[in-house]
């Protein structure tokens, strides 16, 4: 392995800064702008400022800012992992990058089939963005995934993809799929079609938000209990808040955050590949190539 040049090290340091600085920026912004909380308050994202726009104003909220933090940090991470990538070097970061790519590619191939192998980066994007958004709670930031708008955006994109791949079998075939098993079922099929992205969005958003809600409630309850049981002096300090919220955080922030990301990615794969009419698509392709030949 060749010696790392000072230039290589400098670029490395810059890339690490690119990962760390956005998160630090988020924390500083939080400290600077968050008013001291009074009692238990479960609310949505804080709005920094609002851009007037037609139809509906654009509020720039914590969820937007934190999403961008994740985007920039992920970009830095990708650049860092692939910095100095070469055929013969054997660095840990290269192994890690290879592992990510191979695992995701294999997962996509296994769940969606050979035709959808190109979906690897998209599934990795969902996994990364969702997991890191949820994990923002670990540094005390507002998780963008507990904002319905953020997750709804992803779900709508997935819905567009599902419909796009369903239409590959021909528009007539797509229309006919609504009239199954009998045309009478058309409204129900339509509802179930729309329910797909809605359920995906609500599942993800609800899980992360409920984690925050339960954590807040438990913390408040523990404060109340310690105030009641430990007397007027020691009760001022919420001793019971030591330990129990950490276990809850382990579940709601770490486990649930990663699990929901995985579930969202899994559902995306299943819906997109499940809706794709492979046989119909093959028939159409054959017919077209025959037409071209004649």
């Amino acid at each position: 392995m060749q010696e790392k040049t000072s230039r290589f090290r400098a670029v490395d340091a810059l890339l690490i800064l690119m990962i760390v600085l956005p998160i630090l920026f988020g924390i500083v912004l939080q400290i600077a702008t968050k008013p001291p909380s009074e009692g238990i308050a479960i609310s949505g994202a804080r709005i920094f400022f609002t851009i007037p726009f037609f139809f509906q104003d654009i509020p720039i909220t914590e969820s937007q800012v934190n999403s961008w933090i994740v985007v920039v940090a992920l970009l830095g991470l990708c650049l860092y992992l692939t910095h100095g990538i070469a055929t013969k070097t054997k660095t840990r970061r290269q192994h890690f990058a290879e592992m990510i790519v191979e695992k995701v590619t294999n997962m996509v191939r296994g769940n969606m089939g050979e035709y959808f192998t190109g979906f690897g980066p998209f599934i990795a994007a969902i996994l990364g963005l969702s997991a890191f958004s949820s994990l923002m709670t670990l540094v005390g930031l507002y998780p963008p995934t507990s904002d319905i708008n953020v997750v709804a955006g992803w779900a709508i994109l997935v819905f567009i993809l599902i419909t796009y791949y369903k239409l590959k079998g021909g528009i007539l075939h797509y229309m006919k799929s609504y009239c199954e098993p009998v045309p009478l079922f058309a409204p129900m099929n339509l509802v179930s079609e729309i329910a797909t992205p809605v359920s995906m969005a609500f599942r993800h958003y609800g899980n992360v938000l409920s984690g925050t809600v339960i954590s807040t409630l438990v913390a408040a309850a523990l404060q109340g209990i310690s105030a009641m049981t430990l007397g007027w002096f020691w009760g001022q300090i919420p001793f019971l808040q030591i330990g129990i919220p950490a276990v809850l955080s382990l579940y709601f922030d770490l486990f649930s955050g990663c699990l929901q990301a995985f579930i969202f990615a899994m559902l995306t794969m299943l819906y997109v590949s499940g809706g794709f009419p492979a046989e119909q698509y093959e028939k159409r392709r054959l017919r077209r190539s025959q037409k071209k030949a004649s």
Partner: protein
């Protein structure tokens, strides 16, 4: 100022959608493309090494076959030379033996001839002696001179008879 817990805003949804697309592009262009290219390069290098190794193996096998052929021909050449040398040596020894035998035969013949001559000489000498002795004996006994020529003929015939008997016996 905060949003409601559930509040839907189209632009926020759109921003989030664009964020996901952005991450998708970043992962595709930065992570997946580079890693896949590197993996393809590695595979190509590996394939090349395998091809090289196969080539080297084939060359080695060819060399081995050539060497084996050479060794085989060297063996047969050595065999041929040995056989030739054997034949030559046999021929020469035969010739030497024949010559020796001839010479020995010649020597034997000469010796035989010499022996015969000696015998003849000895026989002649003895005849002469006997004749002399008998003549003198007869002269003394008879007291007169006998004609030597007559006696000689007589005695010769006698001795010849004896000689013939001797020859027949001997």
């Amino acid at each position: 100022m905060t949003l409601e817990v559930i509040s839907v805003n189209i632009w926020q949804i759109l921003i989030s959608l664009i964020n996901l697309l952005l991450i998708f592009l970043i992962l595709k262009k930065v992570l997946f493309k580079r890693v896949k290219k590197m993996l393809a390069d590695r595979q190509a290098a590996l394939d090349k090494q395998y091809a090289d190794a196969d080539e080297a193996k084939r060359n080695a096998l060819e060399n081995q076959v050539a060497w084996e052929e050479k060794i085989q021909s060297a063996h047969s050449e050595a065999d041929r030379i040995m056989k030739e040398a054997n034949v030559n040596a046999m021929q020469r020894s035969d010739a030497i033996l024949a010559e020796t035998k001839e010479r020995a035969d010649a020597m034997m013949r000469q010796a035989e001839a010499e022996a015969k001559l000696e015998r003849k000489k000895a026989t002649a000498a003895m005849q002469h002696e006997i004749v002399e002795v008998s003549t003198q004996l007869s002269e003394k006994m008879l007291g007169r001179e006998i004609r030597t020529e007559d006696h000689r003929a007589l005695i010769d015939s006698f001795i010849d008879e004896i000689g013939e008997d001797n020859d027949a016996n001997g």
